[in-house]
């Protein structure tokens, strides 16, 4: 952290003090949107070295700050005004809270004397955000601003990271208010008697964990986002290799171990691959490392990893025993815990200390051979398959490319088909599942790493929620690239309706051609192409990768009927995983309609639930 303390007091008003405090925290970029109550804070921004990125909707500011934080590990900062702006940023706060993203959000508030009077653009911001922030505060005195900022950054970045909101009434930052001036010093000390995260795990618990690890015959390291938050990728690799322990990386942990690593089984969960899901189910020891037994991973909890003992490593004590009671509970930072395990194992014979996992590894390899991720490419002249787009894109981009995804089918395909070779190259909304996350998050990541390639993988539904942020990308010269997988549907909802609602398609049809995504992107200052058949994919991507001076969007017209497999039905046991139709030797499912090879762009009439679904209605 780059926090310094000032010894010489300087006379500042609250607005200047706020910006100065952000500078003291080493903030280099703020994503924001001005308005009435926050106006006085926007004046000193002109004189600051901090870059301000003007988004087009406050939600974009929040997700961009998250994208920045995911990519860098440093806290993302966003700033908006009171009332509707504060409510617009509620979604990113909830998103950051569920995915433990370090973020500091500054909101304007009406003047102290007006609070509680239902003043113009007043809302109870701290009340509304109380349960979706790690902490929040309403500052009522200008001289309290430096302390509030110091505490906010400390809380956001230590322990289990999370969003912290500071609500700032207009009068205390107002340059025309004599009471808003004070002698600024930045507090070197933090006084939070109730806040003491414990990163260092208790040695006795490490010993107990290591004993279980040594005895296990079918262990699996179940790796979650906590490993990335702890900068623990290197320790993870060493631990997995030393113990010859297979690893599954959850949606929040993709990239924690390279996908090319022989011990990496890939992603578990509702759309995880067969081997990752089944390895957990058959394991005798599950080492949950910075993972929280999310329902999308466990499926039916009572049937989850039924024979496994559990070691749970997590810095948040409340995660221990919340879903599954661990046999050994290690409260602490994942990196420190793994390093402690490694040093304990070094004294206990290293690799020799473990049971032989050869047979277990062979069993896993057998599953990998039998049930790889698979899809049938579309025929020449047909619209494309999203999986083929993602494979081609993956192979055309450098391995340090950052991929930011929206939420839905495209997110699952991206997490399945990308090959993550480095940590912090995958940015997505895991816990909250926020549609529209990708474009602003990609902007945040690209603002942090202007020299890296940043691709947003988006769906048509998501794009219509936050696509306007491409204006931000153009105007602010943050040239992200967008792979828009346009299947004319809310694809994931459509998939559920097909599988679980008797193919009754209710309100999921969006149309391939309204809006015209290419024209829309061009109007926002992007270069845009449309890809309508498999042969065009590679060329379009090559062209996009050569453009570095402005954002670029490729609209891939995708077949509507493609479904994400494997799939564990919600609430079902992981043992009931449904694999791709081509892999169903038994009668587990009927033939997937998407495998029939429909004609380009048409929707199978039998799948039209209502008149709104017809393409004609869109014209």
């Amino acid at each position: 952290m780059t926090v310094q303390s000032t010894s010489e007091p300087i006379r500042l008003n609250g607005g200047q003090a706020l910006i100065k405090s952000l500078e003291m925290e080493g903030v280099e970029v703020v994503f924001g949107y001005p308005g009435g109550a926050i106006l006085p804070v926007y004046d000193p921004i002109i004189d600051s070295k901090i870059r301000h990125v003007l988004v087009r909707h406050e939600q974009g500011a929040g997700h961009a700050a998250e994208g920045y934080a995911h990519a860098t590990g440093r806290p993302g900062v966003c700033m908006v005004t009171s009332g509707p702006a504060a409510t617009n940023i509620v979604t990113p706060l909830a998103d950051a809270y569920l995915d433990s993203v370090p973020m500091v959000c500054i909101t304007g508030q009406v003047a102290v004397a007006s609070i509680g009077t239902d003043a113009f653009q007043e809302c109870d911001t701290t009340g509304i955000t109380r349960s979706i922030t790690k902490h929040n505060m309403l500052v009522t005195k200008a001289s309290d601003i430096p302390r509030a900022v110091r505490e906010a950054f400390h809380i956001a970045t230590t322990g289990r990271p999370g969003p912290v909101l500071i609500d700032i009434p207009k009068d205390i930052v107002d340059a025309n208010n004599p009471d808003a001036y004070f002698d600024f010093t930045y507090p070197p000390e933090i006084d939070l008697p109730g806040y003491a995260p414990q990163p260092q795990p208790a040695p006795a618990n490490i010993t107990a964990a290591v004993e279980l690890m040594k005895a296990a015959e079918r262990p699996v390291l179940y790796v979650g986002g906590g490993v990335l938050k702890a900068r623990g990728a290197d320790a993870l690799r060493r631990l997995a290799e030393l113990g010859n322990i297979p690893v599954v990386t959850t949606l929040m942990a993709r990239g924690a171990l390279p996908d090319s690593h022989e011990l990496n089984l890939g992603m578990p969960g509702m759309h995880g691959n067969y081997t990752a899901v089944t390895a957990i189910q058959r394991s005798d020891l599950l080492i949950a490392m910075g993972a929280r037994f999310d329902d999308r991973v466990t499926g039916k909890v009572s049937a989850f990893a039924p024979d496994a003992k559990i070691i749970h490593v997590d810095i948040d004590p409340a995660e221990h025993g919340k879903v599954r009671m661990p046999d050994v509970s290690v409260v602490g930072d994942c990196r420190l815990a793994m390093e402690a395990m490694l040093s304990e194992l070094a004294g206990a014979g290293g690799a020799e200390a473990f049971a032989d996992h050869t047979q277990w590894r062979q069993q896993l390899s057998g599953w990998q051979e039998k049930y790889p991720l698979t899809y049938a490419p579309s025929a020449p002249g047909e619209y494309v398959k999203p999986q083929q787009v993602l494979e081609t894109l993956r192979d055309a981009c450098p391995s340090d490319t950052i991929v930011a995804s929206g939420v839905g089918q495209h997110q699952m395909w991206a997490s399945q088909y990308w090959r993550f070779e480095h940590p912090y190259t995958w940015i997505n909304s895991g816990g909250l599942g926020t549609m529209g996350f990708s474009i602003p998050a990609a902007i945040g990541a690209k603002a942090a790493f202007p020299d890296r390639m940043v691709w947003a993988v988006d769906g048509d539904g998501c794009f219509q929620m936050t696509g306007q942020e491409l204006i931000t990308a153009s105007v602010e010269r943050i040239p992200i690239k967008v792979a828009l997988l346009n299947n004319a549907y809310l694809g994931m909802v459509r998939q559920w309706q097909e599988l679980f609602y008797d193919e009754r398609y209710s309100e999921v049809y969006l149309s391939h051609d309204t809006p015209d995504y290419v024209k829309w992107a061009e109007s926002m200052g992007c270069v845009a192409f449309r890809v309508e058949e498999p042969a065009e994919i590679e060329v379009a991507i090559a062209k996009a990768n050569e453009i570095n001076d402005r954002p670029v969007l490729i609209e891939f017209r995708c077949l509507s009927e493609e479904k994400v497999y494997p799939m564990v039905p919600a609430g079902g046991s992981n043992d009931d995983i449904i694999v791709d139709p081509s892999q169903r030797g038994d009668a587990k499912g009927t033939v997937d309609p998407s495998q029939r090879g429909d004609a380009k762009g048409t929707v199978d009439p039998s799948q039209r639930g209502d008149a709104k679904d017809s393409e004609g209605a869109a014209q």
Binding site: R130, H135, L138, P193, A208, P317, H320, G321, V331
Partner: protein, 182 residues
């Protein structure tokens, strides 16, 4: 309402004392947490301590709605929560205050006054047909008094919720979010 008060001594009711920073909105944070996670509060009392930086919240929680362990860990996630202790009845001095206004016409008035005397309560206000009485004591004593008072016609009744301190010389275990393996 009355049912939960009469059932005050159910084994699933546990008393925790939460020391919090005396800052705006702290009570709302605690109450919000209970509401959001679906934990039941049986009673709650809050007031500043002798150190004006801190307030003490005494909460009787229903551990059937969630394990006490999880409630405590979630409370510790609140930045303003400084310390939590469980006060088991055998380790604590517990007190609660009850106020009640009862109909007291001529024919029952003396019996009500007698009842208040037996429990060492007080008569706070008198009118031709009503009495307002108060009783402080252990919550179980208040339960008994309330049950007997129900034989008369209660107009209004309010209990304060319990407050508690450890018995002198008794070591009350501080609850922690982090437990070391034994």
């Amino acid at each position: 309402m009355t049912a939960s008060i009469v059932d005050n001594r159910k084994p699933q009711d546990r008393t925790i004392v939460v020391l919090v920073e005396n800052k705006a909105g702290v009570l709302a944070r605690v109450a919000d947490l209970f509401a959001r996670r679906g934990y039941n509060i049986i009673s709650l009392a809050v007031a500043p301590t002798n150190d004006d930086r801190f307030s003490r919240i005494t909460i009787v929680v229903d551990v059937e709605s969630a394990p006490l362990d999880q409630i405590v860990k979630q409370l510790f996630k609140l930045i303003n929560v400084v310390e939590i202790a469980e006060l088991a009845p055998e380790l604590a001095v517990e007190r609660e205050l009850l106020l009640a206004t009862v109909r007291a016409p001529q024919d029952t008035r003396s019996r009500i006054i007698e009842l208040v005397d037996v429990f060492e309560g007080k008569i706070l206000a008198v009118s031709p047909d009503h009495l307002t009485v108060s009783l402080d004591g252990r919550p179980s004593k208040l339960d008994d008094f309330e049950a007997l008072l129900e034989g008369y016609s209660i107009v209004e009744l309010q209990r304060s919720g319990r407050i508690a301190l450890p018995k002198i010389g008794r070591d009350v275990p501080r609850l922690r979010a982090v437990v070391e393996a034994s």
